[in-house]
Symmetry: C2
Subunit: 569 residues, 2 copies
């Protein structure tokens, strides 16, 4: 039985659902409408076009075999009818049709459907600021934005850029401006860190430091009050604290789901926007599906509603909708929240909940920080990777893992391995025993992910009691009044420069000599143990515990983490 | 309650178990004995020392903080007593003691234990060949072997090397000889492919081809009859088919578990060697644990016994034994069989079962091959990755995934994500929906792993019916008699050179033009569809199916896979 499908929206989920459906039911017809003339583009690639990594904007709109994904392509190659510059104005569920309007001519029309797909995506959040419409103020939403921004840069019109918002897109755009074009780039963020809620303040600080070293300036905890221009062209950004010159402004303050048309049709929509769908990606009208950036999906870690606008979600959900339109029963059970962002020579990635998000979701959570080599310590391409694991204390459940490091693929691989099991409520032991592929060029015999779980295990057992670089900073900043005894338990040669620079506070007893030199370690003062990464200081902590020391703190991540965090001793 | 633990074997699992235990019970004592003077070394690093990637053999015996892991280190840093050159000759379970012998003096002694750990490892399989003891014939078992081999090479004594066995170690050693030192290197393998049983013949061919391009010769299906020398020094290897000159011979024909001492003590041992342990890594004597290369563990995919000697296993099992010695109840449930091996600029990795292994284990299995970019097609560092998924047809269960590609970390990451879920009997749908971290520099919007599962789904549904490069070769080799119609459905410019070279057999109709040019495609001949990677030809297959064509085969992996496989058209 042949049917007619209408898809509203032609960027990511829409085309995927349409094409999948047509492959399963070649005899049926699909009409995909989009209010713009740009369809099926890789919006996630915009920062890489602006940076010059991608040389031609058309690459964002082509297939991997270099065909332009335009209406002709969809018709000939995919068998899908596309109508561009056609805006859906109303869904008439009773009569099963969509009212549309030609955005150029204003001509109205009604298109009937047997089943409908809402793939309206999301729009950049507008801040309602004075000056938001000045020339040079851009969002990062479509190839048009990309072309405008790159054209201005390449003409030499941009000496200073201000990015509003330190989330994924903001950071990617900051890199694009600063790296390839040497533009003076500032990021203004209302929260006090990059990637708020997604990673811990510690990881965020490491990422921020690396970006600062590459020429990006950050202003945290500041709100933008206005954008000012001259002759209609942006000139500066006024924040709560300062004035920043700006020839280009990027507003990357998140996106909001385009779900008004669904709401007006009486479909179930979240109070802050976003269409509700069931596990088959169906709305509360069984003939209407929705997916991608305009939807709300369950977060499988918290069990709560999630809004996770990502091109990868749209593609996977699109396939599911395509299958179900053709009578299938494919399921999308929800999201765990995996992400990665490249930050110059490093990257930040994660899955599941950060410590802050876990606490906000009501978990009795803790986290541990591990810094370790990503492959055999004797293998020449080894790099340090920093991972943080978030754990629910009462149940030992792993709630999330986030990381920062310079071998992006290697780190993403670890994050993905955790992402793969996260919806099954894994415990620390599942990660401790995870069987990752081993060979010295790719992993250590005890992989960093296994070690991370082991650290969490030891921390929960109370035998490895420590704090990360943020905790160290607090202890060190108060070294005058807290009377802490900072004990560097590395070998003498490693510790000596630090002892020389801080003779009053910094002490050295190599871990292997602790039992012979116990008299140098005061029993009546808090001991703070430091080594290269936190591994030897953990052994030292056990030795001191065994000798009855009562207040011993291990610095997780050791000197390596302190350095990445920006603490100079 | 303080206890005394004896550990037999000081390489990988032994030290890990000993140290973990001591951290949990600092008041107890551990005696670790080893019959050699070399303990706690990274045997997996030997090929990289031979190649020169690792400059100093001592790096294989040091910690990541450059301390030599010798008996003094274990005593001072770990609190573990080590007795080297001490061979355990008998376990007296009744009296709970180990009889030992000093291998230099012959002095005998008895060491009592409260609990015992058998960590005797495995030994290289000897082939019983004439000439196996000639100078220049080496196994790859310990740093002594490594030093001997590299010394001979660096002195210029090795012009020709023959490797016996094309498993992990054989291939790693072949690379070491050929890459850094330009030695004429041959690999002799009794089976007909590299990495037999671990990867499909197709992936194996891709890996072999890459190694051949880097100067390694392979002789498959040949057995070694003898090794010959002059004046006690190796000169040549005699196989069933040829004589190979050899100044160095590496025997890498697998390893056998060192479980005789356990068997003699009446512990449960596999008929072909290997100590049986329960999920707590305990033998059938509750006071005796065993782990690492001397053990048999359950394969969680097949449910059968497995022998998987890997340094990573030893480390994880060692920690579990250490925990349980201290009263814990940590579990090791089994293995899924994850691996990776670097082959010059590429690598081969996998987890779970290959198609052959799956069939041998009784599954009604099939596999699909996908070649796709490992990140966004517009991102400059993109590379092709080839993945194969093995599926149990009746249940849709994923039994394994193997891969070959040049971005090692990226591929290992995908393999690890599957490895992470493999013991939970995942279905195709679990991988299709797997939420991998997405950003253009690290993944495509539809990740290659999701696509791989989608391909398996479409193959099982019968809508994507195809064969890989091996199947294509058969069809192409019989092009004269089978009357197949080879239809290249890429754009004209891509297909033209092939049509010109094979005008009689190679035809071109771009996929988007198929419906307009149906008359060019015969209905009464088998159609073989080819495109770049198998994606467009899948669309073409659907189009032809819809028009009633009865015998259409899609070439999975397309021209990209044919090229990697070594088929020149």
């Amino acid at each position: 039985m042949s049917q007619h499908i209408v898809v509203i929206g032609g960027v990511a989920l829409g085309p995927k659902a349409a094409c999948r459906f047509k492959r399963l039911e070649p005899e049926s017809t699909v009409t995909m409408i989009d209010q713009t003339a740009m369809i099926s583009y890789g919006g996630c690639g915009i920062p890489y076009y602006v940076s010059g990594d991608v040389s031609d904007a058309s690459e964002l709109c082509t297939t991997s075999f270099h065909m332009v994904r335009d209406p002709k392509f969809f018709k000939e190659v995919k068998g899908v009818d596309v109508r561009i510059l056609t805006k859906a104005t109303r869904i008439d569920r009773e009569n099963k049709c969509v009212e549309v309007e030609n955005v150029q001519t204003g001509e109205k029309e009604t298109i009937s459907y047997d089943k409908l797909v809402i793939a309206t995506g999301a729009s950049p959040r507008r801040l309602g600021l004075p000056g938001e419409d000045l020339k040079g103020v851009n969002y990062v939403a479509n190839p048009g934005d990309a072309t405008r921004i790159r054209e201005a840069i390449s003409k030499g019109e941009v000496g200073n850029a201000v990015i509003i918002g330190a989330g994924f897109i903001g950071l990617e755009m900051a890199e694009a401006f600063a790296d390839m074009w040497g533009v003076e780039t500032s990021v203004v963020e209302i929260m006090d860190q990059i990637m708020p809620r997604l990673v811990s303040p510690t990881l965020a600080t490491m990422g921020r430091k690396h970006m600062e070293e590459n020429g990006v300036s950050f202003y945290f905890g500041e709100t933008v009050k206005a954008i000012e221009g001259e002759d209609g062209v942006v000139k500066r950004v006024i924040t709560s604290e300062r004035v920043l010159d700006a020839d280009a402004v990027i507003i990357s303050a998140g996106v909001v789901p385009n779900s008004d048309i669904a709401k007006e049709a009486g479909l179930a929509v979240h109070e802050r926007g976003g269409v509700y769908v069931d596990e088959f990606m169906r709305t509360n009208d069984p003939d209407i599906y929705a997916g991608g950036d305009c939807c709300i999906v369950p977060n499988l870690v918290t069990g709560k509603d999630a809004f996770l606008p990502l091109g990868s979600m749209a593609n996977r959900q699109g396939r599911i909708i395509g299958s179900n339109l053709a009578g299938g029963s494919a399921k999308f059970d929800g999201v765990v929240g995996s992400f990665v962002v490249k930050l110059f020579e490093t990257s930040m990635a994660g899955t599941g909940l950060s410590l802050d998000s876990a606490k906000a979701a009501g978990f009795d959570a803790m986290s541990v920080l591990l810094i370790q080599l990503d492959r055999a310590h004797f293998y020449p391409t080894k790099q340090l990777m920093t991972l943080e694991m978030v754990v629910d204390k009462p149940t030992r459940r792993v709630l999330g893992v986030q990381g920062f490091g310079s071998s992006g693929d290697a780190m993403v691989g670890r994050i993905n391995a955790v992402a793969a099991i996260l919806k099954s409520s894994p415990t620390i032991d599942d990660v401790s025993n995870m069987e990752l592929a081993y060979s010295p060029p790719f992993a250590a015999a005890m992989d960093i992910l296994n070690s991370l779980a082991n650290l969490a295990d030891n921390a929960l057992a109370g035998i490895n009691r420590g704090v990360g670089p943020a905790g160290f900073k607090e202890l060190w900043d108060n070294r005058d009044k807290d009377a802490c005894f900072f004990l560097d338990c590395r070998e003498k040669g490693d510790a000596d420069p630090f002892v020389e620079r801080n003779p009053e506070f910094w002490h050295n007893v190599p871990q292997g000599e602790i039992y012979d030199r116990l008299d140098e370690i005061p029993e009546d003062r808090p001991i703070v143990l430091v080594c290269n990464t936190g591994a030897r200081s953990y052994e030292a902590q056990i030795m001191l515990d065994a000798k009855g020391y009562k207040d011993v703190t291990n610095i997780h991540g050791g000197m390596a983490a302190l350095k990445k965090y920006g603490i100079d001793l």
